[in-house]
Amino acid sequence: MKKTLVSLVASLTMLCMILSLTAGCSSGGGVSGCFDDREVLNVYNWGEYISDGEDDSLDVIEAFEEKYNIRVNYTTYASNEEMYQKIKSGAGNYDIIIPSDYMIEKMISEDMLEKLDFDNIPNYKYIGDDYKNLDFDPENEYSVPYLWGTVGVFYNTKMVDEEDIKDQSWDILWNEKYSGQILMFDNPRDAFGIALKKLGYSQNTTDKAEWQEAYELLAEQKPLVQAYVMDQIFDKMANEEAAIAPYYAGDARIMVAENPDIGFYLPKEGSNKFFDSMCIVKGSEHKEAAEKFIDFMCEADVALANSEYVCYSTPHTEAYKLLDKEIRDNDNYYPSSRTLERCEVFCNLPPKINELQNDLWIKLKTK
């Protein structure tokens, strides 16, 4: 889900807002070339979250453009919240977005998404039944799952004693033995999610006392934490700068490729399970093209290319069958249903709890 790129966005967002106010973004969106009269589809996705032709992979965007003679204006974001703020403020013109579970729930409740016409998305039939009618879109009217995954613990086998990983718990992130060698999520939802799971609470709790307890736990952890990071985690783990870090399971393949001593487990207390699904922004002027795009993304070879490139798990039954056996059988990418039962999907938190979460996060970071 969240391969964040370092974003210098605060100022840029401002700039974009002003530009759109003064210059007036054209309804077509983006800068269409003078002699390019193809229809333009604006796709807004996570950074590094599509097969782009690198290393002999399929260039999905290019293949789509050729097949349908539609030009794709492709831009990326680093977090659900960043994407939401952009859409909400009306800055820029987007047709396709790929939010995560809780953000889809929120956007549906705020009437920010178009209902999909599944007659135009025949390939939807390939999506596994386990990935349909999920809680965030119970009637499955607004979203088509793109990729999914879980959050777990990465550790360096050379730097961590075997006995400490034996019980496969979140506790290792609080183990004083590894003080200064622990990395932690640099975003509140994931960080609090871990603390809440460790306490045995729901990650979607609306009990303020439980959030407070989770905060105390994170505050207790802070002296042991080397750094709060997102995608710097790849370098820091590969260079053995740190020994332990929580991150998204799919990234294990990239991490192990860089440093074979890195191991991964899904903690026994349970974890977060996330879905990133394709949606169409309310008021999209290219809804049909957008549905073509979603359908294209659900073609088996495209879904396979994306899952192989991004390394996150695919909900596509045919693509799954085409994956390497060792990946299909790997419990980290495709955990057993028993393991998954312990995992929770984020729900949209009520505004009061969201506010509390952000306040506690700033409090933690200024402590």
């Binding site: 370092v6 966005v9 919240e81 509140p188 750094a227 970071k365």
Partner: protein, 274 residues
Amino acid sequence: MNKKSSVLAAPFALWILIFTVVPLALVVYFAFWGDNGFTLDFIKSIGEGEYAKSLGTSIWLGAIATVICLLLGYPVAYIISRAKGISQRTMVMLIMLPQWMNFLLRTYALMSLLENNGLINTWLRDIGLDPINIINTRAAVVLGMVYDFLPFMVLPIYSVMTKIDHRVTEAAQDLGANGFVVFRRVILPLSVPGIISGITMVFVPAVSSFIISRLLGGGKEMLIGDVIEMLFIQVEGGRNVGAALSLVLMVLMLICMTLMNHFDDSEDSGGMIA
């Protein structure tokens, strides 16, 4: 004549209008106008919570970085201004050279230099010394600020110093002043405008810097720039408080600068860049 110059200034005026005046007006607007019209709540909320603390830390670290820049930069500026022709140009070039590289890249580079398994510590271990533990500390954040903003201290001081008439220092020497007195009574006062603009150009971006603390400080301490970024990007409806915070920051900076300019009592402030 007048008409002509105002025509020539028009593009710049337009630029300032679009990229300075309008954004500033938007910041003020968001800081005072919420969904229910005019309110002082956003400004008030800054006093509560953790914002004040973060603001204090930012000003404190920015001030330290500024002092270090001044202590490092002033002698350098002096030496460069006294150097002859080609070597002077070479030295100015060397000061500017790092600026040609993107600031984010330089900060990333600094991170991989300072890390526990970074270049510096690897060398230290190779020659049998203890590694230094600096990454993810406040010291690393200050170092990053100094590293990124030092040229902004050196260049204005240098440009003022080159304008100091040699005959003035010679006159002082003729009147019996030794080297130290010449510096204290002649060169230092004449270079004040450069110092002031140097301080302005380092302090303001240092206090409001936001990526440095995340990369070099391990994200363990949110500086005010990080808080504002988070409010704008992560927090729904956070842009009002974010704008209020930006506004308070700007006002504080303005007060600092006004106080600073008070020290600058020389008539000629030709060195002012900011």
